[in-house]
């Protein structure tokens, strides 16, 4: 899909920003370029759509040399997302999203249709199409930035630290959403970042760069297990190398499979009874077929016991949950970051499968400290 052949970039002067880069990227692959600032990762990416032109070597997209194509035409066929989002403040969200289709002279109706279709992808309401960028939050704006890159359905998307300027929780959410989207749409992504967590989480392969050269190209797992040299090791950080073990375990393997639940049709007194039996302060609320609906805690019951009788009337629906195949490392991080006490685990149909609590984490830490000794 995308090939770098001996690509070198020399800026005025003599320093080589990128030195003899060779890389083959397959269709549908999610590639992260990572490295310290000045390592040439952004330069490498920007050479793909010729915002920076290579000094030597060739870059091929689907076997065609980019330097032999019309620059403007070529860029319209490559999605582009920047860190600072760069939505045009004087255009509505709809106009922003369908900018490239407009450049490609799609009809007005077709553009609007596409905008409606796209905004649904990121679960934003259709009314937002007629708002202006400044009326949206940073996270929403970057969602639109991503949609804008998807608008004309380009097979290849370049992203320059797209989530770098967002707060950690918004970033987390967007990363997940985007990885999901990428898998569904089968796009090839070249993603520049300096955040190792982000690269590990998103990439199929990570390209680690230093001083304009590639140090290591591999899957996140391989890089964590077999860092090529000391530089990679120090770049990954000792912390993460220690964490490698839980990295490969999924939530499904360690969760508690019998969480304390209450059906939404049950009464509050049943709920409080169950809390007492199970020695917990909150219960997961389920609907028919074990679908997870929300949670209810002892305070909710206390506040509402005079007004309501059924769990279904007062339970809370705002709930963070993970899938069975999520990595433990990510889940732990998120629990710590959000200060939650537990995370319910669901399958693809949102059916409750289990729960990870802080007690589960204690088991995990216990295993990693004494687990090996037990085996002997």
């Amino acid at each position: 899909m995308l090939t770098f052949e001996n690509v070198t970039k020399i800026y005025s002067g003599s320093k080589k920003a990128v030195n003899n880069l060779n890389l083959q990227i397959e269709k549908g692959e999610f590639i992260c370029f990572i490295g310290p600032s000045g390592c040439g990762k952004t330069t490498s990416m920007k050479m793909v759509n010729r915002l920076i032109e290579p000094s030597e070597g060739r870059i091929l997209i689907d076997g065609k040399d980019i330097m032999k194509q019309n620059r403007v035409q070529m860029r319209r066929e490559i999605g582009y997302v920047i860190q600072q989002i760069g939505l045009f403040p004087h255009m509505t969200i709809s106009e922003n999203i369908t900018l490239v289709p407009k450049l490609l002279q799609w009809s007005k109706e077709k553009r609007r249709e596409r905008a409606v279709e796209l905004i649904k992808l990121v679960n934003l309401p259709e009314e937002y199409l007629d708002r202006y960028p400044q009326e949206l939050s940073g996270g929403q704006q970057q969602r639109i930035g991503v949609l804008r890159a998807l608008a004309s359905n380009p097979p290849l998307i370049l992203m320059d630290e797209p989530f770098g300027a967002l707060d950690p929780i918004t970033r987390d959410g967007l990363q997940e959403e985007f990885k999901d989207l990428q898998k569904r749409l089968g796009k090839t992504i070249v993603f520049v970042t300096h955040d190792m967590d982000e690269a590990i989480k998103l990439a199929d392969r990570i390209v680690i760069m230093k001083d304009g050269e590639i140090v290591q190209v591999d899957t996140p797992d391989e890089i964590l297990r077999n860092p090529a040299n000391e530089f990679v090791e120090s770049f990954i950080g000792k912390e993460r190398l220690i964490q490698t073990k839980p990295d490969v375990t999924t939530v499904g393997q360690i969760m508690n499979k019998i969480p304390a639940t209450v059906h939404k049709e049950e009464t509050l007194s049943t709920a409080i009874q169950r809390m007492k039996e199970k020695r917990v302060d909150s219960l997961l609320v389920i609907g028919d077929d074990q679908t997870l609906e929300g949670y209810i805690d002892v305070e909710d019951i206390e506040e509402n016991r005079k007004k309501s009788t059924l769990v279904g009337e007062i339970y809370e629906t705002e709930l963070y949950k993970v899938k069975e195949d999520s990595l433990i490392r990510d889940t732990i991080q998120k629990m710590l970051r959000r200060h939650t006490k537990y995370v319910p685990v669901v399958d693809d149909q949102n059916k409750l499968k289990g729960i990870v609590t802080r007690a589960t984490l204690a088991d995990l830490v216990y295993d990693s400290i004494w687990g090996d000794e037990d085996d002997n």
């Binding site: 759509n49 915002l51 403007v72 035409q73 070529m74 860029r75 319209r76 066929e77 582009y80 920047i82 600072q84 989002i85 760069g86 939505l87 045009f88 403040p89 004087h90 509505t92 900018l99 490239v100 450049l103 007629d130 708002r131 202006y132 960028p133 400044q134 009326e135 804008r148 890159a149 370049l158």
Partner: protein
């Protein structure tokens, strides 16, 4: 009051004519200024090296005494409206040129990168991103220019271009303060009016960045 009525009876039609001349000289000069300075200002943002020099030269022209400039054009263009318009045109250049240059130059670099990266051509970037966003600054330059020019146009009377300056200079020559006022007051009103109308135009041209049905907190 009586003198005022008398003045209008005697000079009413002349006043209307002079006001029209005045307006016409200034507006043609400003229009020419816009037609030249806006494109040149945009062009300068594309050739950075020349920008400083050009703006400096135009600034220097601005410092020439206006009477001297008017006089300077007499041997070349003779007397009448043409030399007056040309001289005023030179004065209108600087504020418009400088504001256009600054306005375009100040466009958020990220927007340009996003636009370019998505495959907008240079022309598309200018007309659908840079120019719309620079409108308030460019319009500020045009307003300043217009107000100045309406003031300076009184001097055009020196080279026989007519305008409200005729009243002022007649008044000075004949020691008739009412004639001076008859020139000065309409010229001030014209300037205020022009500024007001241009303010409306500015509002109209400035692109919206907020949807009306939705209020931000």
């Amino acid at each position: 009051m009586d003198t005022l009525i008398q003045f209008f009876q005697e000079q009413g039609s002349t006043l209307a004519l002079k006001t029209w001349e005045h307006l016409y000289i200034s507006l043609i000069a400003v229009l020419l200024g816009i037609l030249v300075a806006v494109p040149v200002g945009i062009l300068l943002t594309r050739i950075n090296r020349a920008a400083d020099t050009v703006i400096r030269i135009v600034s220097i022209i601005q410092t020439f005494p206006s009477l001297a400039i008017l006089a300077f054009f007499i041997p070349i263009l003779g007397v009448g409206k043409v030399p007056a318009i040309v001289a005023l045109f030179f004065y209108s250049m600087l504020p418009i040129l400088r504001n256009t240059y600054i306005g375009i130059k100040n466009t958020d670099k990220n927007l340009l990168e996003a636009g370019r990266g998505m495959g907008m051509t240079n022309t598309q970037l200018i007309f659908s991103v840079e120019l719309p966003l620079a409108i308030p600054i460019i319009m500020a330059g045009i307003r300043v220019s217009t107000v100045y020019l309406i003031g300076w146009a009184t001097l055009a009377s020196f080279v026989g271009a007519g305008g409200l300056g005729d009243f002022i200079f007649d008044g000075l020559n004949l020691y008739q303060p009412e004639l001076i006022l008859a020139g000065a007051i309409p010229s001030t009103i014209l300037a205020l009016l022009a500024d007001f109308i241009l303010g409306k135009v500015e509002k109209k041209l400035t692109p919206t960045t907020k949807s009306t049905h939705y209020e931000t907190a």
